[in-house]
Amino acid sequence: MTTASGDERSNILVDVRGLSKNYPLPRSVGDVLGRRQAAIQAVSDVDLQIATGETVGLIGESGSGKSTLARVMLRLVPPTAGSVRFDGTDLLALRPAQLRRIRARMGVVLQNPYGAVNRRRPVRAIVAEPLLAHRVGTKRERGPRVQAALEMAGLPSGFADRFPAELSGGQLQRVGIARALVLSPQFVVADEPTASLDVSIRAQIINLFADLKAQLGLAMLFISHDLATVSYLADRVAVMYLGRIVESGPAAALERSPLHPYTQALIASIPRPDPAQRSAVPPRGQIPSPLSPPPGCPYHPRCPLAMSVCRSRRPPLEEKASGHLAACHAVPAARVVP
């Protein structure tokens, strides 16, 4: 397995090694399909390190395994193989009571704010839920903490007594962010938090995350299918394809000189808000089914650079430039300077 450049960084808060998640198919489905492997490999052999105060952007198309990776990292679903260490503690070895304690140090923001809150409860109760779940503080102490979290999320105090139906999508997403922050977590996972928002609101929420990152020193995993959104927040970016990380590196390097042909295609696909730059050649094909991943490099059926080796051998994720990793036979590896 390739070691990530993250090893050199200090203060690793979240350390993911060789993480895989298979969803076995029912026997009958496996038989009918005649697959050798009767499982969907949602996440395969992922290494990912997030340092204290660092934001890692995770991008990829639907079905690439972004959300599954996040869920396994939080141990919301158990992995098939690999390890997740949070601040040195192996999450997978913990008993339920210990796991609950350490989860108080993590927060989650979900994509669809309408589906993520109980519509029959006022904002105050929604945001207080994590405090109750972790039995933090007395009733009297909880009020100010809820208020502080709402303020951090940019909601004036008047919002505490409102109900979700009275809020706009952007305000509701702020409620979701306040709920993720109320326990003062060290690590926040944000899964497509801007995907369902209007253009003007999306910019507000991107800036809110940027402020929180700067003020609270949060480590963050920011999942999005849009590299442009991620580039405003992330220090490093990882690109997933069919359950594997195919490229990772500093956000600026990945955006300016993407190495993997898939990342290049993703960037080329983003429609530009400029009528003088009309893209001519869209990338071909679509993401293959994880039921029958192609042999060799998972991207070779769509890749313009595919060579014979790509069809037989899967390229390892290796360092191609300083701190910039890619899994591609066509990109020469960096000469590592001692």
Binding site: G170, A228, P283
Partner: protein
């Protein structure tokens, strides 16, 4: 990469082509007389033959209601005033029976969510055959051959696929099937598309965009594209209408809109877009929430979020859609009102 024969460069000037459809003074109010919910206020637009128009706006701007009105899909009681002329007919006065010969046949429609536009209980072939037979009773060579040719045009291999069910197709493929039905079941001169790529991945979106561009060129269809994504307007359209709170607040040729946005809302919206390569510093964000026509207020509906307020006039009176003096560009902003004291003309300047 630049499309060298891009229509943006030599695109038609505003209102110089041959009219295909025209919306005049359309006002739509949902709800009931005791609780009216205005959605569109006095909207007028013209669609020329073969022209691509983007209708851009945020939630509540009325863009989808406008699109549905063009297909006469908004129930009659909600239409307060206005007309939708298509050819020599006013669609809002026709009976359902007459509309059925226009919708799908002369006006094709593509919706946002392809998954919910197909019935999961019937095969794709059954559903496509129904649509094709409705509009083309006896095609030479049979309906299936016709469907096969249509699917070929949208890049779906028809062999053996017609007996399959919607769940066996990806979202992108279903959207291609819907586009095939919209473009080839009838012979549409107008294609209405409501956020056709919003639920798709960025690579699939790019493929669908390229396909729409080709189909429009080959079939000579006019297109009205409703989207929240200004980039799609830039990529696909000749002319852009920007909507806010149930009204058109800016109308411009696509090159002018992006080079010289005239309405403060358009300018602020363009600045809010995260773009690659990343611009240094903080992303601009507009204060407040998008307004809808139901949020009745005095003065300009955009005033609470506007960063270029002119003073009391913005709070007191709602501006009409006024010429900015550049290429027929229009903007609903008091700064273009010649009766007002002369102010800085935003349209004459490049955006910040």
């Amino acid at each position: 990469m630049t499309d060298s024969d891009s229509t943006a460069a030599r695109g038609p000037g505003i209102r110089t082509g041959e009219p295909l459809a025209e919306v005049t003074g359309l006002s739509v109010t949902f709800g009931n007389p005791h609780a009216p919910v205005p959605a569109l206020r006095e909207v007028s637009m013209r669609i020329d033959r073969g022209e691509a128009i983007a209708v851009v706006g945020e939630s509540g701007s009325g863009k989808t209601t406008l699109l549905r009105s063009i297909a006469a899909l908004v129930p009659r009681p909600f239409i307060r005033s206005g007309a939708v002329r298509f050819g020599n007919r006013d669609l809002l006065t026709l009976r359902e029976r007459e509309l059925a010969t226009i919708r799908g046949r002369e006006i094709g429609m593509v919706f946002q969510d392809p998954v919910n536009c197909f019935n999961p209980a019937f095969t794709i072939g059954y559903q496509l055959r129904r649509v094709f037979r409705l509009h083309r009773p006896e095609p030479a060579g049979g309906t299936d051959a016709e469907i096969g040719r249509a699917l070929d045009r949208v890049g779906v291999d028809a062999a053996g696929r017609l007996a399959r069910y919607p769940f066996e197709f990806s979202q992108g493929q279903l959207q291609r099937l819907m586009i095939a039905a919209a473009c080839f079941a009838g012979r549409p001169t107008l294609l209405l598309a409501d956020e056709p790529t919003t639920s798709l991945d960025v690579t699939t979106e790019a493929q669908i965009l390229g396909m729409l561009r080709e189909l429009r060129r080959d079939l000579g269809m006019a297109l009205v594209l409703v989207t929240h994504n200004l980039a799609l307007a830039a990529q696909l359209c000749d002319r852009v209408l920007v909507m806010y709170a149930g009204r058109i607040v800016e109308e411009a040729r696509v090159a002018d809109l992006f080079a010289r946005p005239a309405h403060p809302y358009t300018r602020q919206l363009l600045r809010s877009l995260p773009v690659l390569p990343r611009q240094p510093g903080r992303l601009y964000s507009m204060p407040g929430d998008p307004a809808s026509a139901a949020d009745a207020r005095r003065g300009c509906p955009f005033a609470p979020r506007c960063e270029a307020l002119l003073g009391a006039v913005c709070a007191d009176t709602e501006p009409g859609l006024l010429p900015t003096g550049v290429n027929g560009q229009l903007a609903a902003c008091h700064r273009y009102d010649t009766a007002q004291a002369p102010t800085e003309n935003l349209a004459g300047k490049a955006p910040a």
